[in-house]
Symmetry: C2
Subunit: 325 residues, 2 copies
């Protein structure tokens, strides 16, 4: 890099001056958290682990790290306010790469209206990006621990798209699908469901919620564990992109339902409600589909696929960071 | 690592269960920020850049990353409440190393009474640790921008110790000093001046404050820039550890004053006050010395050393992360 830490901070400060600052902004020892903001989440992406720097546009990576954090705030029933950004930059990182990365982050900040309050820039062997997002709950925060027996389990939009996108990103011949670009974009640019959760909390009782990062089964297990309940998941009801997959789907539907259940990184919402939600009405207002896929039980973890019945251990777990090491 | 991400989080959750949790703790999509806490700061340490994993006890590194963050909260006139922790762990990282690192962080949390609310664990080529600390200002937050002409500039305890410690850590024969272990411990275990700033804000008007991370001159320049003022710094008044250095100090005092002014990473407080602070009274109450070392001027950056006068450009700048790359 030609620029030093202070020059990079100055650049960032200029770039984000079109967004509101709450009290103290960039340039003091600590930053200010806006009054009433009491949700905080953080996520990290590392070159070579979560993405390959040379294979992607860094603007997509900047956009994605923020989307992942925004999705966590959505899963709590919240709205974003401000953020912190930590960059570990390798010696070979260029000013142009820095600018692409920051452009993706800035695009996200403009779109979802949150500010950048501070952070840290350090040297590192390989690129890593840690983003921390601060927000406030729109009503009471929605926890993983709130699910009750009898709740219906819903999922927003589609699941499995990101896993298909990742397979295609690694090897474009790994899978024959009708619309490969659709899946690539779903992997690179997940959509945080902020508007959806805002609408749902206003009109229905949302008992528990999680964003799907580990995979439907893995994340449903988190809810079951934290809530002390069981569940029945109807695998064949998972909303999968059968049209965009095309003929391959007809050939082996279970392969795609399995991927949808275990793939992870969809950043859709999985939530439970004591209400029967009018899914068409939600779609008319927000433009996002939601679909019932199962029910919360007193205990037990049951997964149905047409007439067959499975348990979670029949499925490989979602992406675990230290698997096999 | 033998353990996966979820098992490590479970370990951490158990380890920190002896500390208070504010609302939602570890295990949801986002964490809760305690009511009234509106200061946030973050710092990162990377293996090979900020420390050498094989040359240090990882408990010291865990302690230090938290001390650096605590020092930022102290510099804002604040008190810590809760924290987030992001770990980038290399494949070769052992469960024992993980435990040492977490022990240092837990020690700090017990000593300074803050909780761990959440974070992220990812795989990474090399070890990095990002800690985010959330706190509340004891009165109004103290900014870098509050210095006014006529203010006296004070520094807590000693400066230059950390730079000497780092030289000795890199090569124990680089410098002959009387008490090498003293300097090593000052480098590895800086003391956040939380009690000092609490006492000072209760009894005096503290106009501006910064913690010394880049070096006395670099950090004083940050205050001058943000406040739109100048300063006179009396280099020969800097509190240096002449006794612990010993004979070498007599041989070349300027070398050590230079190191004190530019070395950085002391994490002492540099603050300005419109009051003449009763330094002995402060020491009697808190056990930390403070020393006047200069004065805020309308403009100009003047550095005196006995009869000589210098400007900041005569001194090499503090550690810049991307220098020469």
């Amino acid at each position: 890099m030609k620029k030093n830490e202070f020059e990079l901070i100055k650049d960032i400060r200029g770039m984000f001056s079109d967004l509101p600052v709450h009290g103290i902004g960039i340039g003091d020892d600590a930053a200010f958290i806006p009054r009433g903001s009491n949700l905080i989440t953080t996520d990290t992406m590392v070159d070579g682990v979560h993405f390959l720097m040379d294979k992607v546009d860094l603007a997509d990576i900047g956009y994605k790290i923020m989307a992942v954090n925004l999705s966590d705030i959505a899963a709590m029933g919240g709205s974003p306010e401000t953020s912190l950004l930590t960059l570990g930059l390798p010696p070979s990182f260029t000013d142009a790469q820095f600018h692409r990365l920051m452009t993706g982050i800035h695009d996200s900040a403009i779109l979802y209206r949150y500010s950048l309050a501070g952070g840290d820039i350090v040297r590192s062997g390989s690129l890593f990006i840690t983003a921390t997002l601060i927000g406030h709950p729109l009503k009471d925060p929605i926890l993983r621990s709130g699910a009750k027996p009898g709740d219906i389990i819903y999922i927003s939009n589609k699941v499995g798209d990101s896993a298909i996108g990742l397979m295609l990103l690694k090897d474009k011949n790994s899978l024959k699908v009708k619309s490969p670009n659709y899946f690539l974009s779903r992997h690179l640019c997940p959509s945080p469901r902020l508007k959806l959760i805002e609408y749902l909390t206003q009109h229905y009782t949302i008992r528990s919620c999680i964003d799907i990062s580990d995979g439907v089964i893995g994340d449903l297990q988190h809810i079951a564990e934290e809530s002390g309940v069981g569940y029945f998941l109807e695998l064949n009801e998972l909303p999968v992109s059968s049209d965009e997959i095309g003929k391959e789907f007809e050939r082996d539907p279970f392969f795609f339902y399995d991927l949808a259940a275990t793939g992870g990184e969809d950043y859709e919402l999985l939530f439970t409600s004591s209400d029967t939600i009018e899914t068409m009405k939600v779609y008319d207002h927000i433009g996002v589909t939601i679909k019932p896929v199962g029910r919360i039980l007193e205990s037990g973890e049951h997964i149905g696929y047409f007439e067959k019945e499975f348990t979670p251990s029949d499925f490989k777990p979602g992406f675990r960071h230290f698997e096999g090491e």
